[in-house]
């Protein structure tokens, strides 16, 4: 049995290590309770002064016991030992305190504590600026905020979207009865609690509820709730954020208590809850008292001492002094006395405490020292004695002689602060209430209400009745029940309590600035004198003081120290706490893992990969793929031993000299039907479609209102009032949304319907001088002669036994047939075409060759040669703009703006490097004078650049200021390596400028 474990408490033994040393705890322990049971005093070092620190609390408020679990890929930094459930083989270490928590070299610096006032880092490490990164590294190492794993996280995390009528946050007394009232009405209820067991404070309570011990009452109520099918109970689940529209996020820890790496399922689950109504029953945090050296190990919260004794069977010391401003903490003296350990005294700042619990303590023969303050704790790694002195009524001055009490444990209580964090996330401003000496939740901004201690109601009876009412009301407002309570009132023992004293800083015989440090924020070593100094240096706003002193910046986010800190600030500013206000609480309530936020959207599931129906064929042929939007498109098809350049040279030459085949299925396709279809399409494109006959296609460019090119493609007339619009691969969804936007919001009078058919069709482009011969072999019912089926026509027919639609569109400049069949026949038709083309050495080619072939022809790619600031005229495509359209088209007016008509706009031209094997880098800047000093006058940039095997030299497309009038001039592209490549400006059409090859 460990030294501090009570004999009455037993359980299955669990082995664990802390800072490399082996210990034993028992099932049900947290790491903190197990450490206390083993008498471990020092668990960490403070942030700035590296003072030894011990376990102070028992939950989310713990500032000192910050640990790192495990090592390697699964290591987890910055957990609170009070929230880590013990499991067999757990390995923990302190996150700060190098080389060891018991001998810390940084602790020597602590001796010079007065040399490190607030704002120390800002003041000391400010100059020279360039060294800040070096300083920061040193500071972080010194502070030791844990180590991030460097390997990929081996664990699985996922997300669940939940909907409920009533979400109850917190399963203490108020939350449990709220959930019961709501569940009874039939409403869908979720109740979440961050602890492993439901019950909250009742788990450590010695009170009787409904005639039985509180923990037993909790167990029966939990069993009752589990019987409802309409309730989800989530233990180990922290509601960490409350966002607009009653959307809340819960971090559910599913396997953390079983070991470091989950063997099955998700380690943590992010529950995203949309709740009609919310009940916040988040409880309250006990406030420590701020006295000199209140951070020595052995000083704890009174409620924490009681929790360790009553719930975990651990007595964290022997000789106890209780220091309080209220009746509540007297319970701790009773608990300590009951287990047979010595209560040295209860020190009460009030002059005449006389409540029921006070009387009970006195009846035990325990000394109550009223009207006194515990002004200083003494000891180094453990409390050895407490200095006690009489203080005045206001609690501002020591008025008499100091008395020394030998002890090894000080339990302090400065009252309770409602946990208003989640209510504060909604934008509700916490309101100071002097009667409870704390902030209550502000007026609701959303469909929520607080109940119990989180609302400032601290007695059990009040918590139960408020919780029940809140549950019934929330259910009613979500459409269930009539708001009346369904269950009878619960009987509990009641004690009468006297008012507490509001005391935020315990006076010392010396002034605050001269007294030993009186800590407000333990983790970041913010002391009362530091806050007063900040005020003397001119800081007034609570938000500024927070940032200057780092008050509330630690992983406990000020849960312990905030109220005391603000009260000390208010006093220094000589104003009320209400006037001073509090800092704003934001999500996350407690730290949340990135894994849970990412969920399953990782690795292969990070972004969808879209495949065409022919994808597997490409894979089988060893294609290399390129991402185009979400699509995987074949980039090139290397043969054994070929480089990419060799492959694309071969593919390009095959198209120019015989025949190639391209999977063009990814192009966006929109079916357009309705009596006003032609009119609508004509308004969207720059040219007219009013006279486009069935069987015909036309190329068009779409502009945004600013006159800039936004998409391009071919549109075919399929029949009366029926069209098929092709878009770019990446632009498909955007174009459909654009069409719907204009139809629905601007021209609802136009009768036209749009339907995406991108996925329906598989498109195989057969292109090259032998294309017709290939098609002729698999299609007998279309007359392929150029007189009847000419360029920019389409025909329905049968290809290899499948009904197909064949378009004569060309993006290569060669004779081309685009064969479209429903995608279920995609692979069949592809293989039929490959077989038919075999005698012509039909060559599959990918996007790279497609880009080269089109660049040889000067065909633009929207998004590569354009960037949202190019007009059709800039692209030398004035021919595509209809000048005589009856109705305007989108972007038309913008084409007349002074800026869009000026002559020195960047214009599309061809570039032919003087060294004809040199390939310009895409994106290279164009200048007219290579010898100009930096900064040079940049005249444009290269948009596309390739080596053209068909032409035997490299080519590029570029946009150059006034380029259309600069044909024949030599320009330069200065490169990062100091070279400058000279090129001649030429026509953007390099190959077959008269277009004879596709008109055959």
């Amino acid at each position: 049995m460990s030294q501090n474990r009570l004999e009455s408490h037993s359980g299955v033994a669990i082995d664990f290590t802390f800072n490399g040393k082996a210990y034993q705890g028992i099932a049900g322990d947290t790491l903190a309770s197990a450490l206390l049971a083993n008498g471990v005093n020092v668990v960490g070092r403070s942030f700035k002064y590296a003072r030894p620190r011990g376990i102070f609390g028992h939950g989310a408020e713990e500032p000192n016991a910050i640990v790192q679990l495990g090592s390697g890929a699964g290591t987890i930094p910055n957990l609170k030992a009070t929230q880590v459930e013990l499991y067999q083989g757990l390995q923990a270490s302190s996150v700060n305190g190098w080389p060891s928590v018991n001998f810390d070299v940084m602790g020597l610096i602590g001796a010079f504590g007065r040399l490190m006032p607030p704002g120390f880092y800002y003041k000391t490490f400010m100059y020279p600026k360039k060294l800040w990164m070096t300083y920061e590294h040193f500071i972080r190492k010194a502070a030791g905020l844990g180590a991030t794993p460097v390997e990929a996280d081996p664990d699985c995390y996922d997300k669940l979207n939940q909907h409920c009528d009533v979400l109850v946050v917190g399963a203490g007394p108020a939350g449990l009865v709220a959930a019961r009232e709501a569940a009874r009405t039939g409403a869908r209820v979720i109740i979440a609690d961050e602890q492993s067991q439901f019950g909250g404070t009742l788990l450590a309570s010695k009170q009787q509820v409904d005639g039985i011990a509180a923990p037993l009452w909790v167990a029966s109520l939990v069993a009752e709730l589990m019987a409802y099918s309409n309730i989800q109970m989530l233990p180990r689940s922290t509601v960490f954020g409350y966002y607009d529209h009653n959307f809340l996020t819960i971090l559910e820890r599913r396997t953390d208590h079983l070991g470091l790496i989950s063997t099955r399922g998700a380690r943590q689950r992010l529950q995203r809850v949309r709740a009609a109504q919310v009940v916040l029953a988040t409880g309250a945090f006990e406030r420590p008292l701020v006295f000199a050296h209140n951070d020595i190990p052995g000083v704890m919260l009174a409620s924490s001492v009681s929790t360790y004794v009553n719930r975990y069977g651990v007595a964290p010391g022997n000789k106890l002094v209780v220091f309080t401003t209220n009746d509540n903490a007297y319970q701790t003296a009773l608990d300590w006395q009951r287990i047979g350990r010595e209560v040295v005294a209860v020190v009460d700042t009030r002059s005449n405490p006389c409540g029921d619990t006070v009387a009970a303590v006195k009846a035990m023969g325990i000394e109550v020292i009223a009207g006194h303050g515990l002004i200083e704790a003494q000891g180094s790694k453990r409390v050895k004695r407490a200095l006690v002195a009489p203080i005045n009524e206001a609690g501002t001055q020591v008025t008499g002689a100091v008395r020394r009490l030998a002890c090894d444990l000080i339990a302090c209580s400065g009252g309770w602060s409602p946990a208003v964090h989640l209510s504060s996330h909604t934008g509700a401003k916490p309101e100071w209430d002097a009667s409870i000496v704390g902030f209550r939740p502000g007026d609701s901004k959303q469909q929520e209400r607080s109940a119990g201690a989180s609302r400032g109601t601290f007695d059990l009876m009040g918590c139960l009745s408020e919780g029940a009412s809140a549950g019934a009301q929330a259910a009613m407002l979500s459409g269930y029940g009539d708001g009346n309570l369904q269950f009878p009132a619960i009987a509990v023992d009641e004690y009468s309590e006297q008012p507490q004293q509001a005391l935020f800083l315990v006076p010392h015989t010396k002034t605050t600035s001269r007294a030993p440090s009186q800590f407000v924020d333990f983790q970041l070593d913010v002391s009362a004198s530091g806050i007063e100094l900040a005020v003397r240096e001119g800081f007034e706003s609570v938000e500024h003081v927070k940032r200057y002193t780092a008050l509330g910046f630690g992983t406990d986010q000020g849960k312990l120290g905030n109220i005391n800190g603000m009260a000390i600030l208010a006093n220094a500013l000589d104003q009320s706490i209400a006037e001073t206000g509090t800092t704003i609480f934001r999500p996350s309530y407690t730290p949340t893992t990135f894994g849970a936020i990412a969920g399953r959207d990782v690795n292969n599931l990070f972004d969808p990969e879209r495949y065409t129906a022919v994808h597997r064929w490409h894979v089988e042929q060893g294609a290399q793929f390129e991402d185009v939007g979400q699509w995987k498109r074949p980039w090139y098809f290397p043969k054994q031993g070929e480089t990419m350049q060799q492959a694309v040279d071969r593919e390009g030459l095959a198209v120019r000299n015989s025949v190639g085949i391209l999977d063009a299925s990814t192009l966006g396709k929109i079916d357009i039907q309705g009596p006003d279809a032609a009119e609508f399409i004509t308004r969207m494109y720059t040219n007219s479609y009013l006279k486009l006959a069935p069987g015909k296609c036309r190329y068009g460019v779409m502009l945004k209102e600013d006159g800039m090119i936004f998409d391009d493609g071919v549109c075919a007339c399929l029949g009366d009032n029926h069209y098929l619009m092709f878009t770019t691969t990446g632009g498909a969804a955007g174009v459909l949304a654009w069409l719907e936007l204009w139809q629905q919001t601007e021209w609802p009078e136009l009768q036209v319907y749009f339907t995406s058919v991108t996925d329906h069709w598989t498109t195989a482009t057969v292109t090259g001088p032998n294309a017709r011969k290939v098609i002729a072999k698999v299609c007998s019912d279309i007359d392929l002669s150029s007189d009847t089926f000419s360029f920019m026509d389409w025909r329905d027919g049968t290809v290899s036994g499948v009904k197909a639609r064949v378009f004569r569109i060309s993006f290569t400049g060669e004779l081309s047939y685009e064969v479209n069949v429903p995608a279920h026949y995609g692979r069949h038709i592809w293989e039929a075409l490959i077989a038919a083309g075999e005698e012509f050495n039909i060559t599959p080619y990918g996007t790279e060759t497609m880009h080269i072939l089109r660049a040889e022809k000067g065909f633009i790619i929207v998004g590569q040669d354009t960037d949202g600031s190019m007009t059709p005229a800039d692209m030398n495509m004035d021919w595509v703009v209809g000048k005589n359209k009856a109705f305007s088209f989108i972007g038309r007016r913008s084409l007349q703006r002074s800026d869009t008509v000026r002559s020195n706009r960047k214009q599309l031209v061809g570039l032919k490097p003087l060294n004809d094997k040199e390939v310009l880098p895409e994106g290279a800047q164009v200048v007219f004078d290579a010898k100009q000093k930096i900064p040079m006058a940049m005249q444009g940039h290269v948009t596309s650049s390739y080596y053209s095997a068909s032409l035997g030299h490299s080519i590029a497309l570029a946009v150059v200021k006034g380029g259309h009038k600069r044909l024949g001039q030599v320009v330069y592209c200065p490169l990062a390596d100091g070279r400058s490549i000279a090129s001649e400006i030429v026509s953007s059409v390099f190959y077959d400028p008269k277009g004879e090859r596709h008109h055959v």
Partner: protein, 211 residues
């Protein structure tokens, strides 16, 4: 189909390469029914129908031609025999006919319907998969933000249907009278969705069944 013409459903390759259950230990090698079973429906005719739901003649002609009353209530579907009509929007429906040919249905509808309408064959672009098993409700919660628990149960000829996001793709999701769910998904996203489902269903044991 005859004459050597090969038809491939969107899930064709995925089925052949993942023809085993993934999963959660006790189901991995067992014969036990998996918590999530994914099964692709046989290839069917899928058509998008557009028209004016306020036009009584239009609604009557659709019912007459397809033998199914056009659902006018948002997010519902009607089914008779092999034919289902899903409400997708105030003027948009999805018709799925498991035993028919799209061209024949399109021709019949064009003959019967007057005025401003649209009929589009999208059979090649999508597929219908069924999700069944004890894990389905949770898998839906992992994959979409929609509240399926709020739906009334489906009957044999009517139910609820919603077009929404599914993981990072989109789907038309409907409930069936046997408690299972149907997902109509786009062909190009099928491999992604199948991988997503195998992953999401792993905790229950997941199997993709041959269609």
């Amino acid at each position: 189909m005859s004459n050597g013409i090969k038809l491939e459903s969107p899930l064709f390759y995925f089925q052949s390469s993942f023809n085993k259950s993934t999963s959660a230990d006790e189901l991995f090698n067992a014969e036990a029914e998996c918590g999530l079973v994914v099964k692709e429906a046989p290839l069917s005719a899928h058509l998008i129908l557009r028209g004016d739901s306020n036009d009584i003649a239009f609604c009557a002609a659709v019912a007459e031609t397809l033998g199914v009353v056009l659902p006018l209530k948002s997010c519902t579907y009607h089914q008779e025999g092999n034919t289902s009509i899903y409400w997708l929007g105030p003027s948009e429906w999805l018709v799925i006919e498991s035993a028919g040919q799209a061209q024949i249905i399109e021709a019949a509808l064009r003959k019967a319907l007057k005025g401003h309408i649209a009929i589009v064959d999208v059979s090649g672009g999508q597929t219908c998969i069924n999700l069944r098993g004890v894990g389905v409700a949770t898998v839906l919660k992992k994959s979409t933000v929609y509240d399926f628990e709020a739906w009334d149960l489906a009957t044999s000829n009517a139910g609820r249907a919603v077009q929404t996001t599914f993981a990072k793709a989109s789907a038309v999701i409907s409930n069936r009278s046997d408690g299972s769910y149907d997902l109509v998904i786009r062909r190009s996203f099928v491999d992604y969705i199948a991988q997503w489902l195998l992953d999401a269903g792993e905790e229950f044991g997941c199997r993709i069944e041959q269609g």
